[in-house]
Amino acid sequence: LPTPPARLPYVPHVPPMALLGKVTATTFALERPLCVFDGHADASDAVWLAVAFANASATFRNPRSRAEVPPYKQLPTARSYMTLETAAATYSCSAPSPPVLRVGGDTACRDQGRQDPCNGPLPSPGPYRVKFLLMGCSGPKAETRWSEPILLRRAVSPGTIDPAPTRRGSDVVVIASILASLGAVLATAVLGALGVKAWGSLCRQDLGTDAFTRRSYRTHHIPPVLPRPPPPGCGCSPPGLC
C-alpha cells in the first residue's frame, strides 16, 4: 500500500495585503506556499492546487497518479479539480517570485478546451476550499490542510441603484424662496403703483405733494396789473405830489 501523504500544517489563504482584485467574481488570489514543501519535495516533484466546492472538500480523494488528476472541465460534475501544476522548486524558500498566485486567470484554456491543467475561471461564486498537493512519480507525497471557504463576489443588477437625491439641498430652498418673494413684492409694487395712478386719474384728484420732477410746467398767463389812472382833477406834474 502506498504511504499516505504527509499532512503539513500550512493552511492556504487569500493574501492579507490590500489588493482590490484579490477576490473577483470568477477568480481569487492565494498567497504562495513558500518554504512549505522544503524537506518533502524532490527536484522532479510538482505541486498542484486542488480546488473543490466547500461542501465537497470532505469527499475529495487524492489522485494516485498524474493520470488520475481531475481536470478543470469536470468541475461541475466532480465538484473539484486540480490545477496550477508547478515545479516544487518554484516554492522553495530561496526562489524569488511574485508573492501571490491567481486562480482562474487563464481564459484561453477554457475556450480552447486543452487537456493540460487549466487554470480557468471559476463558474460560480462558490464557496470553494483549496489545498496544495505535492505529487511525485508514485503518487501524492504531501498535502496541506484545506483552506477556509472562499466566497467569490456576486454582482447585483444596476437596477437596484436608486438615482434620486437623498435630500434636497438647502441652497435650492434659499434661492427659490427669496426669489419668489422678491418677485411677488415687485409684481405687487408695480400693480399697486399702476392701480393708484389709474384710480387717481379716474377720480381727478390732486395726489398730494410729491412735487419733484416737473417734466413740463404749464404756465398760467397772469396779466400784469395796470397801475390805476390818477383821479382826474389833480394837475400835478410829478405823480402823487400835489
Binding site: 489588493l19 482590490l20 467574481a25 443588477s157 441603484i161 441652497d171 426669489l179 403703483a193 393708484v196 420732477t213
Partner: protein, 256 residues
C-alpha cells in the same frame, strides 16, 4: 425747492449707477453662460444621456437674459435722465419679464444640480459604457466621454474600480471578469497606451491601476457651472430688485 432738487439728482444718480451695474452684470452673465454652454470639460454627453440637461437650458436662458439686462439698463439710464414716464414704464415692464426668466433659470440650475448624484452617473455608466450594440448615438458618446475622462483624470468608475465588481454592467456582458475585472483604461498606461503591468492591474496592486473614482472630476465642473448660473443670477436679481423699486418710486413721482 433746492433741497428736493438735490434729492431728485441724488435719486437719478443712484438709479443711473444701479443701471450701469446691471448692464455690466448682464454682460458678465452672458459671457459666463457662453463659457458653460461651450462644454469646456467635455461632460455634456453624460448630462444629455441622463435626460436631465436642464442645467444647459438654464445657461442658454442666462445668455439671453444677460443681453436683455444690458439693453434694458441702457433704456433705463436714458429714461431716468430724460425723466420720461413712457420710457420708464416700458423699462419696468420689460425688466419684470426678464426678472421672471432669470428667476426660472436660477431655480432650474439649482434644482437640477441636486439631482446629479453619484448614483445617477453610476447607473448610467453601468448600463451604457461599452454597450455591445449601442442603441443610439448617445451610448457611443457616453463610452467616448468615459474613456476620455478616465484617461485624462487617471480615475476609474464613479466611486472606484470596485463599481465594476459590485454591479453587473453592459461592460461585463462583453468582457469576462477574469481578463477584465475593470476596463483597461483603469490601468496605469505607458506612453503607447498599453498597461504598464497587466497582471498587476488585474490583481489590483497599488501603483498599477487607478484606484480613485471619477465622480470628483465630474461633479467639480458641473457644480461650478450650476452654482455660477444660480448664485450669480440670484445676486443680479437682488440688485435688480432694489433698482426696480427705486425706479418705480421715481416713476411715480414724475408728473406730466
Amino acid at each position: 425747492m433746492a433741497k428736493s432738487d438735490d434729492c431728485i439728482h441724488i435719486l437719478q444718480g443712484l438709479l443711473v449707477f444701479g443701471n450701469v451695474v446691471i448692464g455690466m452684470c448682464g454682460i458678465a452673465l452672458t459671457a459666463e453662460c457662453i463659457y458653460f454652454v461651450s462644454n469646456p470639460h467635455g461632460l455634456y454627453p453624460l448630462l444629455k444621456a441622463t435626460e436631465n440637461n436642464d442645467i444647459y437650458a438654464a445657461a442658454w436662458i442666462g445668455i439671453f437674459v444677460g443681453l436683455a439686462l444690458f439693453a434694458l439698463s441702457i433704456l433705463g439710464i436714458i429714461g431716468v435722465i430724460k425723466a420720461s414716464r413712457t420710457l420708464l414704464l416700458v423699462y419696468i415692464i420689460l425688466m419684470l419679464i426678464t426678472f421672471a426668466f432669470e428667476m426660472a433659470s436660477c431655480i432650474t440650475a439649482a434644482t437640477h444640480r441636486d439631482s446629479l448624484t453619484p448614483s445617477l452617473f453610476l447607473k448610467q455608466m453601468l448600463e451604457r459604457y461599452q454597450k455591445s450594440d449601442p442603441a443610439s448615438n448617445s451610448d457611443k458618446e457616453v463610452t467616448k466621454t468615459w474613456d476620455k475622462l478616465m484617461l485624462q483624470n487617471h480615475c476609474c468608475g464613479v466611486l472606484g474600480p470596485s463599481d465594476w465588481q459590485e454591479y453587473e454592467s453592459a461592460f461585463r456582458v462583453m468582457h469576462n471578469d477574469a481578463d477584465y475585472p475593470w476596463p483597461r483604461k483603469c490601468c496605469v498606461l505607458d506612453a503607447q497606451g498599453l498597461p504598464v503591468n497587466l497582471d498587476g492591474c488585474k490583481l489590483g496592486v497599488p501603483g498599477y491601476y487607478n484606484s480613485n473614482g471619477c465622480y470628483d472630476a465630474i461633479s467639480g465642473p458641473v457644480n461650478t457651472h450650476a452654482w455660477g448660473v444660480a448664485w450669480f443670477g440670484f445676486a443680479i436679481l437682488c440688485w435688480t430688485f432694489c433698482v426696480l423699486l427705486g425706479t418705480m418710486f421715481y416713476w411715480s413721482g414724475i408728473e406730466y
